[in-house]
């Protein structure tokens, strides 16, 4: 039975899962809900996600939601089964540090970058509002401080923990969205280690394929 993934194609959390599925060489089917209302219906809340969110992954009878848990579940069950790509090291100390960088992404990187994504992409598209320049300015300043820390962390390293891991992967969707806006790519391009890291991530097959699909 094929893995089924439920979500809206451009959603950042969904893209985390799609990149993970591709990195692990896992076939899957994508089911797009008919509209936003569909994920708030009683049946969806009861059987798919009690908070009415996407993505949701269905693996046989097993239903799991929330993008980062879905990804770590896929790694723990399927890593090494379809190809040699390692997203979480088996060594307990290396895996611990991957977990630490996963936490950096959600604690420090995601909040400011999500503000920019919301203002630049969602405000107009879904709420008919203009982007708020004050919010964007504040978020850029906050993200700049985070990227200064990343610049040091990446010194002498290709990826956050040295080798490519799920920690790097989790940064990709939101970074792609903001980096693609000309006014903001400087945040990454003006920091040599960060710039190299981002370019390396964009050049991975699974990432390239996924990003190309978003463009369409």
């Amino acid at each position: 039975m094929s893995i089924k993934l439920i979500g809206f194609p451009a959603s950042g959390p969904l893209l985390k899962v799609i990149i993970t599925l591709r990195e692990l060489g896992l076939p899957y089917e994508l089911e797009i809900p008919s509209n936003i209302q569909a994920i708030k219906e009683e049946d969806y809340i009861k059987n798919k996600h009690p908070f009415g969110k996407i993505p949701v992954l269905i693996d046989g009878d097993f239903v799991i939601n929330e993008s980062r848990p879905i990804c770590t579940y896929l790694v723990s069950k399927y890593q090494g089964k379809h190809n040699n790509t390692n997203l979480i090291p088996t060594d307990v100390h290396k895996a611990g540090l991957v977990g630490q960088y996963v936490s950096y992404e959600s604690s420090y990187y995601d909040p400011p970058i999500s503000k920019i994504v919301y203002q630049e992409i969602y405000a107009r598209k879904f709420q008919n509002k203009d982007p708020d320049p004050e919010v964007i300015k504040q978020a850029r300043e906050e993200l700049a401080k985070v990227l200064d820390v990343y610049e040091k962390i990446l010194e002498g390293k290709e990826y956050l923990n040295g080798e490519y891991s799920i920690a790097d992967l989790f940064h990709i969707p939101s970074t792609h969205y903001v980096y693609s806006i000309d006014a903001h790519s400087d945040l990454w391009d003006s920091r040599p280690n960060v710039k190299n890291w981002w370019n390396r991530l964009c050049n991975r097959e699974a990432v390239k394929k996924t990003i190309d699909e978003i463009a369409k």
């Binding site: 770590t72 307990v92 895996a95």
Partner: protein, 216 residues
């Protein structure tokens, strides 16, 4: 060499790690930082936590930070070594669900509880301000919706995935602070499954002992 934990007991992230260490029966030394300022020192930033935060765990030469990452590391390295307590099941599907509920805690539960305790516990103590009733009201409303979901999720279960797990532990520190405020315990006590769950948690030996450390 004994494990060393750097942090403050009143810090909810530090307390997550304290509970985890105690539940797994791992001996450790607790080291509060010299001051808040010490966390921003160049040496601390370079060698302990790149963002100047607590907690940080030292296990021999190994340094790891971010509370949830530290706890997962402790489980993967020491679960079953000192006692029989299981915080993350070996079954890959059950473990996936533990991660899902950990994500619920950080995405949905933590924010409204933090609004409440940010005002009631921390505003005066650390910022010299009176609690803001508007923020508290909003926090209570948001938390009520989350706890309505938890009430359903806990139907027929003692703990979030059935058995006690790391997901339950992660909810403890902030709940302890909010529940301890008389005006807010109703949020948990008004919902039978939630009340039962919280009573189970706060009566566990290790959790009780950990909460004592916050008081002192």
């Amino acid at each position: 060499m004994t494990i060393k934990l750097i942090g403050y007991p009143i810090s909810t992230p530090t307390l997550r790690v304290v509970i985890c260490l105690k539940e797994l029966g791992i001996p450790y030394e607790f080291e509060p930082p010299a001051s808040f300022q010490a966390l921003k020192d160049k040496d601390y930033i370079a060698n302990k936590h790149a963002f100047g935060k607590i907690p940080v765990l030292l296990d021999g030469d190994y340094v790891i930070n971010e509370s949830r990452a530290i706890c997962r590391y402790l489980v993967s390295k020491y679960q079953g070594k000192y006692n029989d307590t299981i915080l993350i099941p070996s079954d890959v599907h059950k473990a996936g669900l533990v991660e899902q509920f950990i994500s619920y805690e950080s995405c949905y539960y933590d924010s409204p509880v933090s609004k409440i305790i940010g005002q009631e516990v921390f505003a005066k103590k650390f910022r010299g301000k009176d609690p803001d009733p508007e923020i508290i009201k909003q926090g209570r409303e948001d938390l009520s919706k989350v706890l309505d979901v938890y009430e359903k999720l806990l139907e027929g279960k003692e703990y979030l995935i059935g058995e006690f797990s790391l997901a339950d532990i992660f909810h403890c520190p902030c709940t302890n602070l909010a529940y301890g405020i008389a005006a807010h315990s109703d949020l948990w006590d008004n919902r039978p499954n939630v009340k039962n769950w919280w009573n189970n948690l706060r009566n566990r030996d290790c959790i009780k002992k950990s909460f004592e450390e916050v008081k002192n």
